[in-house]
Amino acid sequence: MAKQKNILPGFNLSLGYTLLYLSLIVLIPLSAAFIKTTELSFNEFWNVVTAPRVLASYQLTFGASLIAALINAAFGLLTAWVLVRYTFPGKKIIDALVDLPFALPTAVAGIALTAVYAGNGWIGSWLEPHGIKVAFTPLGVIIALTFIGLPFVVRTVQPVLEDLEAETEEAAASLGANRWQTFTKIIFPAIWPALLTGFALAFARAIGEYGSVIFIAGNVPFVSEITPLIIITKLEQYEYASATAVAVVMLVISFLLLFAINGLQWWFNRHANAAR
């Protein structure tokens, strides 16, 4: 068989390097977690990962992450829209502010959020009299996760919105569509794959988040204790095998969720590729 010639040289080398790199950085550490878990018998494993306190933490972690990602999807879209569609003084500064959650050490963010939302903080002292407690409750967890996830949605949706032709909106208007119809039928279908990507990234990031959450969560078992904290606690008690067991469960759930989101995207792209 004749060797296929490719205009871009170095396919073998670059693919080999990519696989090696991914193995070293991602696959080997992950498989180590699985291997470490096998030190436990299946019954031990099952007891560890279904302990009531651990189950409550799954619920909090995945639930709060989902809510935070949804909030980010809505407000990230709005922020991206404002940044793309309007010019106003200070736009560059706001644009830069969006990236701040990326850059800030998460522990710093956690402490800052706690200080603001605690019962005696700037915002917390306003909310407390109305019976809304933020710090040391699941609400606090959601706020911290929303904070760290914002840039993902904004930065994935922004370029797509920028590429959107203003003419298609004008065409829709000239055909008699009102603003809402133009948004739902013309703009939203164009940006929703990007929005879904941003949502998935924010969601994944929120599931793994530790630093910014532990301060504001207060870590009350069954109430505001997230799964990553449970893993850390177990590690501190030298229960390496059960720590990795919980980690493996998280990993599998995260993987399945991302797989589902990717599947949805693949389905959509196939749909859209028919349109290419």
Binding site: E165, E167, T168, E170, A171, A172, A173, S174, L175, G176, A177, N178, Q181, K185, I186, P189, A190, A272, A274, A275, R276
Partner: protein
């Protein structure tokens, strides 16, 4: 009058895009807005559509003031240069869009929509593409779909912004003839914008020549081509040779050559621009009669096609003169490159500096 445009002004910052433009478009006519890029023609079209608001002035549709109406209430069909089709919708859904977004009371039934869309797709001869997506179509097909989509809402006025500008030359020619035939069938009042004079002259009932935010001339293609009212229109419509000249008592001097005019008999010592179309130049190898002639050398010959294009160089002049001869005349003369010839302009039009009127000379 189906469209009356009154004293429209539009500025973008300090740039004046339209400066006091007024225009009437009679019902059922196909009108071309013709001008170079940046002359304001697209802005005018967008103001008529309601996609842009004028700083002052008004737009009337069939006698009703439409200036304050939103674009979706104006009942105009707008066709964009780059089609602006909805790429995530099939061709069928694109055309159906305008019907589907109507409020419930006026929205046709699904069966009715289906019937109407297929009728329109047949009209643009693309019924077989109904289930495709826009990116799967060629440029010409996309533009026809865009036209069908605009017609679906039964607009009172059809507006086309450089509709053939993004297409290659052959498709462009086909499509503009097709548009003309379609207009003859539908008789919908239409305005299209173009910078291509050939397109405007071939397709339109009337041509509106625009320059620097102002209307230079309005007339039938024949009128604007044969009787341009200003140097700009002369230059913009077709090839033309331009000379600096000097007018004195009915004679135009270009270089050392004096041409007799049938106007400007009382003009004293004025400078002017003189125009000669390439096909209005006669060429002889010897002096011919006693009228004034330019002496020139044949600089370049392009003999492809029905007309032979010559570039002629007058001694001591930098600009070349362009001339067009029929193949028969060219063979009869037997011209070769570098040959010395005599040029007789048969039809010269002069415009005194700062004036919009001119006189003709006829020779031979």
């Amino acid at each position: 009058m189906s469209i009356e445009i009154r004293n429209i002004r539009k500025n973008f910052g300090s740039f004046s895009a339209l400066n006091d433009v007024s225009l009437d478009v009679p019902s059922g006519e196909l009108v071309a807005l013709l001008g170079p890029s940046g002359c304001g023609k697209t802005t005018l079209l967008r103001i008529i559509a309601g996609l842009e608001t004028p700083d002052s002035g008004s737009i009337h549709f069939y006698g009703e003031d439409a200036t304050a109406r939103q674009v979706r209430e104006r009942e105009v069909g707008f066709v964009f240069q780059h089609y602006a089709l909805f790429r995530h919708m099939t061709v069928f859904e694109n055309v159906a869009f305008g019907l589907r977004v109507r409020p419930k009371e006026t929205r046709p039934s699904d069966a009715e929509i289906k019937r109407r869309v297929h009728e329109l797709l047949e009209l643009v001869q693309l019924d077989w593409l109904a289930d495709r997506y826009p990116p799967q179509l060629s440029g010409g097909q996309r533009q026809r779909i865009a036209l069908a989509r605009a017609l679906a809402v039964e607009p009172k006025v059809l507006l086309l912004d450089e509709p053939f500008g993004a297409l290659d030359a052959k498709v462009r020619k086909e499509l503009r003839r097709w548009l003309r035939r379609l207009h003859d069938e539908l008789h919908i009042t239409s305005i299209f914008v173009t910078h291509d004079q050939e397109e405007a002259l071939e397709v339109a009932d009337r041509v509106v020549v625009i320059n620097k935010g102002q209307i230079e001339q309005v007339g039938s293609p024949q009128e604007v081509y044969d009787h341009p009212v200003s140097p700009f229109v002369y230059q913009f419509l077709g090839n033309v040779n331009q000379f600096q000249s000097h007018i004195h008592e009915g004679e135009a001097k270009i270089g050392d050559v004096g041409l007799k005019l049938d106007a400007h008999h009382d003009t004293q010592n004025s400078s002017a621009l003189a125009f000669v179309r390439p096909h209005e130049i006669e060429i002889y190898k010897e002096r011919h009669g006693d009228s004034a002639a330019f002496e020139a050398d044949v600089h370049y010959i392009n003999a492809i096609g029905p007309l032979v294009r010559l570039e002629l160089k007058i001694a001591n002049k930098v600009e070349l003169i362009e001339a067009e001869l029929t193949q028969a005349r060219f063979r009869e003369l037997g011209l070769t490159q570098g040959e010395h010839v005599f040029i007789y302009p048969r039809n010269v039009r002069v415009f005194l500096d700062g004036q919009h009127t001119g006189g003709y000379i006829q020779q031979i």
